[in-house]
Symmetry: C2
Subunit: 241 residues, 2 copies
């Protein structure tokens, strides 16, 4: 990585991204693990270039991590405690990795950059796991989808950031369901319900769910879908243009 203190970035600001993923009725979060001794997990995040809108900065993080171009994302909150810095994390990391990390002028500058207090602007997105090929950054050991109920212990306040993101996602799911591009061009009501249940972490009564969704007035009904299964063929739907 190029020493960020030498780049044309806004100081003390990060965009921290909660990338929710959906697959097989499960809601997950994409979390990289840092390639140093000591099991450190941290949300995908990035700095803000002087030339980028903060939305664009977040978009870059998401595009890099997921490979998806047209991704829908939303800013949901800011985390700005004065005590919010990476000092404790970095010191622990340095202690455990003395062998790899030597003192140098460049490292010193980087240390000073990173240990300043940082304000995080939180963004979330929700993507189809099947369409994503998660990308490690240069400092990552791995990057994986973690079930929303089994998150690893993350650095700083990243746990809280995920919680606020999840809360926002749940409360906005109705308006955003088509923006996330999770469903194929045409789909059945069952598939919509599966997404809702994974996101909201609860079940819905099938028959009432159908009415609820149809009343949002965003779907149009197409022909039936014959799957070969021994049961009634469900209708296909697509989002209205």
């Amino acid at each position: 990585m190029i020493n960020p203190s030498k780049q044309n970035l806004i100081q003390q600001i990060t965009v921290d991204c909660v990338i929710f993923g959906y697959e097989n009725q499960k809601l997950k979060v994409l979390i990289p693990k840092i390639n140093f001794k000591g099991d450190f997990w941290a949300l995908p995040s990035g700095f803000v270039s002087q030339e980028d809108d903060i939305d664009a900065a977040a978009r870059k993080v998401l595009q890099f991590r997921t490979g998806i171009e047209d991704i829908y994302l939303e800013q949901f909150s800011v985390f700005g405690k004065a005590s919010r810095n990476h000092t404790a994390f970095l010191d622990k990391l340095l202690e455990l990795n003395e062998d790899r990390l030597k003192e140098s002028e460049n490292n010193r500058e980087e240390y000073l950059w990173f240990t300043k207090r940082f304000i995080a602007i939180g963004y979330y997105a929700l993507v189809d796991i099947g369409k994503v090929n998660p990308q490690k950054s240069a400092i990552d050991q791995s990057i994986e989808w973690h079930d929303i109920n089994e998150l690893p212990t993350m650095i700083l306040d990243h746990q809280e950031i995920v919680e606020v993101a999840l809360h926002t996602l749940r409360s906005h799911i109705d308006e955003k369901i088509n923006a996330f591009n999770l469903l194929p061009e045409t789909f059945t009501m069952r598939e919509v319900q599966d997404v809702y249940e994974a996101v909201c972490g609860r079940t819905f009564v099938r028959t009432n769910f159908q009415k609820m969704i149809l009343e949002l007035n965003v779907l149009e009904r197409l022909e039936k879908k014959y799957t070969g299964a021994a049961n009634k063929a469900p209708y296909l739907y697509r989002f209205k243009k």
Copy 2:
């Protein structure tokens, strides 16, 4: 003002505050006018000291402008376009005020500080105008309450910031009505309704409003209030502890 570029501040970040005020069934916004030729209005805002939580930075702005200690405020959004800078505004201001503003090393540094791109973290509050004695800052010519429907033309995107703040205020009024400390210790239902109508910019049917508020379950009914008016005495209420 002390040259901000010499203080221990986070760069390129402001907290911009939309201070809503209520009085006589009217909703207003507190907006200073800058003490230079050219009619420039700008929302009260401040920088973030390295030692302050961003919430604390916003609180300081509100305390200074209103004199109120225990003020309830809420962060609602971030405005972070790359093009978001004060250059156009400052150049206009310099052009109109050549006589007062001379080139100097200090002014030059200040100019460079202010013309950088800034990210604004938006906060709003709602206060009782009767309890506030609006304070001008050193650069203000005046500071006044403006009716929400007759706002002056403000610099940058401050108009949009107010709109988003208002939208957030309206959607949260139910949960926040007691936090804002707008009503006296005891009050009538009519007074509550007046606040709601001013904030929401619409009327409510009296009888239904009463039920709606009582179902929030935050009020307790006290004795009646005899005003001397020739009509039935209304009950007094107060917020439950």
